[in-house]
């Protein structure tokens, strides 16, 4: 007769495994954050990195809802916006510098954002967390529209169309950082990004974090065991709001301005896309999504006016064919390599890669030619010295043939793998 507890103890990972799986990645992340400035990135690169840090924390907080608790929200930017607005106001109080506020370093703004986000989550979450699924999504949509509309209405709080700006140079210095030049802001962002990642990861290890996953998978069962799913959702919602507010505080210091636009559905939709494309079933998914999306948002828009279309295509593609997102690809590949199965799958991988490249060729040709045609300036898409006008038969050939061939190849690869 084996003792049940003994079997459970045997299932638990050893200390070494725990260290390797949980602590080492965090240390590596910290090392990466510390090493980046050694490469002397340019000013615009540092600004981009700072925005990545903000989006990482924001996406992780969003995934506390979508991935972990199974709550689809269309209004998560509300909490980042409210946290950020509060931080901007605090920064202005600090600049006036009397009494208590005179002693507050600007470095601590994300903490204020955290508090404001938690408060906003606690107030708005009370009515909205009573339901899950579609009603929750709809309430979040309604609340987002309401708050955004209110943002344009109350000028003294939100500053109207112009928003409210602040100065990050005020207040006492912390750790010798004046926060003036952008590479000093980098250290500020790096510190708080690490805190955000650590905090959201620690949250997944708490009983509440585990319960939120249980509530996502089977709320009846959770109730049966003696917990109140509504309460679990509410608490998770408060924490998600708090971390979003923290991202808002980081953004307040980096950009020194907040506008009511930041409360609207557009940034909420953007973080939904970033998180989902990254992969909601992995903790690191939102981090990858945030990095890729911020990079695309800032760089792709320089190359092509159609970048929103590419973004939409990518999102729909991920929803349809890759529900595990970028993280799914990364971990799937790593697993295959570790299991030594590369020899079995490399042919179908190659086939699929080639197919995807062909599809991308067609899609890019179609989109670029279409956008140039639509603007009507007579500009012509000229990649690699080719002259792809709308009257050139090569354009049509490049738009259709690789697409067909690519789809056939990808389908063949998928068929081969399912065998």
């Amino acid at each position: 007769m084996t003792d049940m507890t003994a079997t459970y103890a045997a299932l638990e990972p050893t200390r070494a495994e725990k260290f390797r799986q949980r602590t080492v990645p965090l240390i590596l992340f910290a090392v990466v954050l510390l090493v980046i400035p050694l490469f002397n990135p340019s000013r615009s690169m540092v600004t981009l990195l700072n925005h990545m840090g903000i989006t990482i924390v924001f996406a992780l907080s969003y995934n506390m809802l979508l991935g972990r608790a199974g709550l689809l929200s269309f209004g998560h930017a509300v909490y980042m916006g409210l946290g950020g607005y509060f931080a901007v106001h605090v920064m202005n109080w600090v600049a006036e510098g009397s009494g208590f506020w005179g002693a507050v370093p600007i470095f601590s703004m994300p903490a204020f954002g955290f508090g404001a986000g938690a408060l906003a989550g606690a107030i708005i979450g009370w009515p909205s967390c009573r339901r899950s699924g579609t009603p929750f999504a709809m309430i979040s949509l309604g609340v987002a529209e309401l708050v955004a509309a209110a943002g344009f209405m109350f000028d003294s709080l939100f500053g109207g169309e112009m928003g409210i700006s602040a100065d990050r140079m005020g207040g006492p210095e912390f750790a010798g950082l004046s926060l003036g030049p952008v590479d000093e802001v980098y250290w500020f962002i790096a510190f708080w990004t690490f805190i955000g990642v650590l905090g959201t990861y620690a949250f997944t290890r708490t009983p509440l974090g585990k319960l939120s996953e249980a509530t996502r998978d089977n709320p009846e069962r959770v109730e049966f065991v003696g917990y109140n799913p509504q309460r679990v959702r509410y608490l998770v919602f408060i924490f998600a709001g708090a971390f979003a507010g923290m991202a808002g505080g980081m953004s307040a210091v980096q950009d020194e301005i907040f506008t009511p636009e930041s409360l609207s559905l557009i940034p909420s939709g953007a973080i939904l896309i970033a998180t989902y494309v990254g992969g909601i079933r992995y903790f690191t998914g939102p981090i990858m999504g945030a990095i890729v999306m911020t990079y695309m948002g800032s760089n792709l828009s320089d190359y092509t006016v159609g970048w929103l279309l590419y973004l939409g295509l990518m999102f729909v593609g991920v929803v349809m064919f890759l529900p595990n997102g970028i993280a799914g690809i990364v971990y799937g590949t790593a697993d295959t390599l570790r299991a030594g199965r590369l020899g079995e799958v490399w042919q179908s991988w190659l086939l699929r890669l080639a197919g995807l490249a062909l599809i991308a060729t067609s899609v890019i040709t179609i989109v670029e030619v279409a956008f140039r045609w639509s603007e009507g300036y007579g500009e012509v898409f000229e990649p690699f010295g080719l002259h792809l006008g709308t009257d050139n038969p090569l354009t049509w050939a490049l738009g259709v043939l690789p697409l067909v061939l690519g789809v056939v190849m990808v389908m063949k690869a998928a068929k081969g793998e399912s065998k």
Binding site: P127, A137, I139, L272, L309, V316, M320, P323, S374
Partner: protein, 310 residues
């Protein structure tokens, strides 16, 4: 009196347009259990297609052809998109339609540009029909009223009085049983999705020149249509009708009220020059549907006439 009559007339027309959009959305929801986020994008597509067809031919051809084209696009989306995603659950479906709305927006911008197109009321209907309190009332608005009412009756007849309607109703609640009886349920789903999108397209054809036809029209209309469907009770056509009328009247009458919050709550000591006191009812009109949505979902999650909880 004058304001009231005009608000009433315009409110009913706006409400009927909203119902035309939300009836398709409700049908699709009760069938697949998914809220089609891209529904308002099909409305936009209808308006733009009508504009293009009208340039080449006439408004009357556009009135029939554009909804049919939108319906076909909808069927393709269901067959090759939604049906694939269906296996992954409702959240994936909702996200798919969310991405689709993004895509349709961008594609519309490619074909028709980023600014509003000049989609005008046909000349035949561009005259004042009658004069009310010294103000002329355009004939086109009454035309909208008639098209919407005709559609309403046709939809009701199709669903309640024909054999096809019977099968659709059965497929909504018992798809497996209907399948076992030898009907092609996926085909039914695809057709209903197509018809729902065609209705949205029709609303675009007659609403696009009543309002403005620009790439932002889907984003403006979309959330309000959701509100109508949820407030009315998901899956209930009658509820959608009541909610559409309610929101149509509420919004148009709020726009015509020129009072500020200070005028109403002045007795509580709210000054006319404070920030809250200066807000007028008219400026709150765009917020009202969402306020209603949040209230309804908190107080009565089934919606006005829904049979099941959302």
């Amino acid at each position: 009196m004058e304001t009231l009559v005009f608000a009433l007339l315009n409110g009913v027309i706006y409400g009927l347009l909203l119902f035309m959009l939300s009836s398709g959305l409700t049908l699709i929801f009760s069938m697949m259990g998914v809220l089609n986020f891209a529904h308002a994008s099909f409305y936009m597509l209808g308006a733009y297609l009508a504009f293009t067809i009208m340039e080449g031919t006439s408004f009357w051809i556009a009135l029939f052809l554009a909804p049919v084209l939108v319906g076909l696009v909808g069927m393709v989306v269901e067959r090759y998109g939604l049906r694939r995603v269906h296996a992954q659950g409702h959240v994936a479906e909702l996200l798919f339609t969310f991405g689709l709305a993004y895509l349709i927006d961008e594609v519309v911008k490619i074909f028709w540009g980023r600014t509003a197109v000049n989609y005008r009321v046909p000349e035949l209907l561009d005259f004042p029909l009658f004069t009310l309190y010294g103000a002329q009332y355009p004939a086109y608005r009454i035309f909208i009223l008639f098209v919407a009412a005709f559609m309403l009756v046709a939809l009701w007849y199709l669903l309640k009085k024909t054999r096809a309607g019977l099968i659709i109703q059965a497929a909504l609640t018992h798809p497996h049983m209907v399948g076992s009886l030898g009907h092609n349920v996926p085909l039914i789903f695809m057709s209903v999705f197509g018809v729902g999108c065609a209705l949205a397209g029709l609303a675009g054809v007659i609403g696009g020149n009543y309002f403005v036809t620009d790439p932002a029209m889907a984003v403006q209309m979309g959330p309000i249509v959701f509100v109508v469907v949820v407030v009315g009770g998901l899956g209930s056509l009658e509820g959608a009708f009541v909610a559409a009328m309610l929101i149509g009247l509420l919004q148009t009458s709020a726009i015509s009220i020129n009072a500020s919050l200070a005028d109403i709550f002045g007795f509580l000591g709210l000054g006319p020059h404070t920030e809250v006191g200066e807000i007028t009812i008219a400026s709150m009109a765009p917020m009202l549907p969402f306020l209603l949505l949040v209230l309804i979902l908190m107080i009565r999650p089934r919606g006005l006439m829904g049979e099941r909880e959302v």
